[in-house]
């Protein structure tokens, strides 16, 4: 332990500038965050100052991780592990103590100020920090895994900052390549089953490289481990049987089993206009679908949609699973399945009567713990969501600041006919039973969201799935009655819809064309 403190003190003396900058940025972040809340609460009073504050916060949010990364690299490279000329390798340094000293430095100058800031911010809002100790701990872990671990891995296999930057560039190119590749691999964006495995492999390999470097200083082996990891992640991306995983995770409902929802393809709408292609030269096709049969109290989250097309000439098109981000409620009557198709293929088959098979993977959520809630005036506490207030001047919403973690699953429902918001000119009063909802959820198994601030902004935007786009967005005002509930996942299933004789051209997204009479303009 003595050696750990001895090395730590040496580093603290040597890198006091880096530590000071990092602590200053943490302080600036805290100051700006509190200032931002004040402006948020009094929005509109001084919008110029508000935007300055936002700009500063954005700058600090970028600079702080950079300062941490720079400091970690400098501290680790203070006793560089690469090369054979370092004076310390032939001194009585014990590798575990050297590693311990570096860890202590990071804990002292990254985690400790961050925890202090988070405790201060929680207290400032009015939350008792001790209640959120576990969450704060996980926030530190997430900072360590998302930021400090990759930086430390780079630092232990390089000897200079230039080498770190070069390695970062190579990694950025690799990541860019993987992201580009993932868009080409069917279904890869849908299934996250292999993400946990990749994440675990990344963390495991990163820790192994750090330990290997400190224990053996075997840089060549460590660098090969990094290359190996890159290759394995690549193989995961291209080799994961995404479709099989989806089919396994979302079993198809068998005949005779109760179906949590009914869906059917609707005839094409004809809003007029001409079909458009996006900038990638793809046609966007929207399949309107009727929705029904959802049990009151259930919510269907559509996790994935797979559209397969078979043309009369035998051509089969299957772009893989996509994540539509759709949520269906019991009173919902219709929705749309949207997909894009390459222009040349679309042009070839658009007028042909094709067979379409739509597979829908979904999760059934059931409302639990329903309770009534009357929206108070001003700032109010709402269970699971933290401190909230009604924002009605711009986009009607309830905005909340949740401590450490946003609500796991919180559904806010309101009967729009009982809204206390004053009707504006042109507003049509809602009929009784027209429900607007706002639902926010985080993956149950996910640790607290990574970030610097312990306060998570959660906004509840209310929408009514059956409202037309011309209708004003429903809002809530003080005294509006709400029903709060915590929907829980109860089942995961898959249904398959088949439709014959579909002409894609009829379902292509249309755009209105406005023709300008030039002669009229000139007059």
């Amino acid at each position: 332990m003595k050696q750990i403190f001895h090395i730590f003190l040496k580093d603290a003396c040597r890198y006091w500038r880096e530590s000071a900058v990092s602590i200053a940025l943490v302080t600036a972040f805290g100051w700006n965050e509190v200032r931002g809340w004040a402006h948020q609460n009094a929005f509109g009073s001084d919008s110029a100052d508000f935007f300055t504050s936002k700009y500063l916060l954005g700058l600090v949010v970028v600079l702080l991780p950079v300062a941490w990364a720079f400091m970690v690299v400098r501290v680790i490279q203070g006793e560089t592990l690469v090369g054979d000329r370092q004076f310390w390798v032939t001194r009585p340094y014990e590798w575990k103590k050297l590693l311990g000293a570096k860890l202590l430095y990071v804990l002292t100058f990254v985690n400790l100020p961050l925890v202090a800031l988070q405790v201060y911010l929680l207290s400032k809002v009015g939350f008792h920090p001790a209640t959120y100790a576990v969450g704060l701990f996980w926030m530190q872990v997430s900072i360590a895994l998302y930021l400090l671990l990759p930086v430390a891995v780079l630092a232990v296999v390089t000897s200079t900052m230039v080498q770190v930057l070069l390695a970062s560039l190579i990694i950025a190119l690799y990541v860019g390549g993987m992201v580009a590749l993932s868009t080409q691999v069917p279904s890869s964006s849908f299934s996250s089953s292999s993400d946990w495995l990749s994440g675990g492999l990344f963390v495991g390999t990163g820790l192994a490289i750090i330990v290997l470097q400190y224990a053996r200083r075997d840089t060549m082996k460590s660098r090969w481990l990094m290359v190996g990891l890159a290759i394995v992640l690549f193989l995961f991306l291209v080799g994961t049987p995404y479709k099989t995983l989806v089919e396994h995770n979302f079993p198809q409902i068998g005949s005779g089993e109760a179906v949590p929802m009914q869906m059917a393809l609707l005839p094409p709408e004809d809003p007029g206009g001409i079909g458009v292609f996006n900038k990638d030269g793809e046609a966007e096709v929207q399949l309107p679908m009727s929705v029904g049969g959802i049990t009151p109290g259930d919510i269907i989250q559509v996790d994935g949609v797979l559209v397969e097309i078979r043309s009369p000439d035998g051509m089969r098109w299957d772009p893989g699973w996509t994540s539509p981000g759709l949520v269906l409620y019991p009173d919902q009557k219709a929705t749309k399945a949207t997909f894009t198709i390459k222009k040349d293929l679309f042009e070839r088959i658009k007028a042909l009567p094709v067979q379409i098979r739509i597979s829908i993977a979904f999760t059934v959520f059931r409302e639990r713990n329903r309770r009534d809630f009357i929206v108070p005036t001003g700032e109010f506490a709402m269970a699971d969501a933290g401190l909230c207030s009604v924002e009605s001047t711009f986009l009607p919403k309830i905005q909340c600041r949740a401590p450490v973690h946003g609500p796991t699953s919180l559904l806010l429902s309101t009967d729009m006919s009982m809204s206390t918001c004053p009707l504006e000119k042109g507003d049509v009063p809602a009929s009784s039973g027209e429900i607007a909802r706002a639902w926010t959820r985080n993956d149950d198994s996910a640790p607290p969201e990574p970030g610097i601030s312990p306060m998570k902004d959660v906004d509840f935007y209310f929408s009514n799935a059956n409202a037309s786009s011309q209708q004003r967005r429903p809002g809530v005002c003080p005294a509006s009655p709400l029903v709060l509930s915590n929907p829980e996942a109860v089942a995961r299933n898959r249904i398959v819809l088949d439709a014959d004789g579909v002409r894609l051209v009829e379902y292509q997204t249309k755009q209105m064309v406005i023709t300008i009479d030039r002669s009229a303009v000139s007059r």
């Binding site: 054979d84 390798v89 340094y93």
Partner: protein, 309 residues
């Protein structure tokens, strides 16, 4: 006598280049061992393996009775290592450098540290990066001697130093020679001749010989034979004769197993009568030069068979 350093068939290859080609070496405890050899002979590579800075491709090395591959952490509390290539924490002042090293060594001797600082005339308040090469080497040496190491390993410590600084360093070393084994590599033979007790000569990754300096100097002589008329050289010469050359009635060679009676007898049996015989003691440098030339001649096939050393 127990051994401070022992290597057995130590081999180090860098791809196709063989830096060490089966090094067998023994350094007795208490010796001042000069590890000599030309540039590129593999001295630094051997030392890096001894200090576990680099791994061997084959063979093994022991340092203070421990496998060099296991040398780590607290084992270095009894080893002082200084290299010309070593990167010191240059941002530190000399006093901070010594103060930083202190807690690492249970046997650190503050009085000795002060003595070394005085002896080397170290400017305590200056940063290492602002010191001259000689001063930096002195600071490194002070940090490597102040804890009474059992073994001091120095890799080309005198390279590029002026004679005065070199003498100061040597003086500093000699004053601690009684308590330590000193292993010092150098390509400059003159600088180690004055104080080494043992010498090993590394050439092309192999030790040509390794022995006590006095016995080495004793067994080498430059022999000058003067004849009445130019002699006829026989086809077969004794294997211990090196660099034989003739000039009119004078024959010169280096005897590598000198014994006055035996060498005189060998001369008589080869040449018969000789007008005069002169045995000239050789400096270490001359001995190495003779051996190096003999080695080169042997490799190029231009000379006679190399002497059995």
């Amino acid at each position: 006598m127990s051994k401070a350093i022992r290597t057995e068939n130590l081999v180090k290859r860098f791809r196709k280049v063989e830096a060490l080609a089966g090094l067998d070496m023994v350094v007795p405890e208490g010796a001042i061992y000069a590890f000599a050899g030309p540039n590129g002979a593999g001295k630094t590579t051997a030392i890096k393996i001894l200090m576990n800075i680099a791994g061997a491709t084959q063979g093994r090395a022991e340092v203070l009775g421990l496998d060099s591959m296991r040398l780590a952490g607290r084992n270095f509390a009894s080893i002082g290592y200084v290299s010309e290539n070593q990167e010191l924490p240059e941002w530190m002042r000399v006093d901070a450098f010594l103060a930083y090293l202190r807690p690492f060594y249970p046997t650190w001797d503050r009085a000795l540290e002060n003595d070394l600082v005085k002896q080397f005339d170290l400017p305590l308040n200056r940063k290492l990066k602002n010191l001259s090469r000689g001063m930096r080497m002195k600071a490194a040496l002070a940090g490597a001697l102040a804890f009474h190491p059992k073994l001091v390993v120095l890799d080309e410590p005198f390279t590029g130093l002026d004679p005065l600084v070199r003498d100061e360093l040597i003086q500093g070393l000699l004053e601690r020679a009684e308590e330590s084994t000193i292993f010092i590599s150098s390509h400059d033979l003159a600088e180690v001749e004055s104080f080494a007790s043992h010498v090993g000569y590394l050439e092309r990754g192999k030790l040509s010989f390794s022995e006590e300096l006095t016995s080495l100097v004793d067994r080498f002589r430059e022999v000058e034979l003067t004849f009445d008329a130019p002699p006829t050289l026989p086809a077969q010469l004794p294997e211990t004769w090196m660099q034989l050359n003739t000039s009119a009635a004078v024959v010169r060679f280096v005897e590598s197993r000198f014994d006055a009676e035996k060498t005189s007898s060998a001369v008589r049996s080869v040449f018969g009568s000789v007008r005069s015989t002169l045995f000239v003691p050789m400096s270490l440098r001359s001995i190495f030069l003779a051996m190096a030339k003999a080695g080169t001649a042997l490799r190029t096939g231009a000379g006679t068979k190399r002497a059995d050393l």
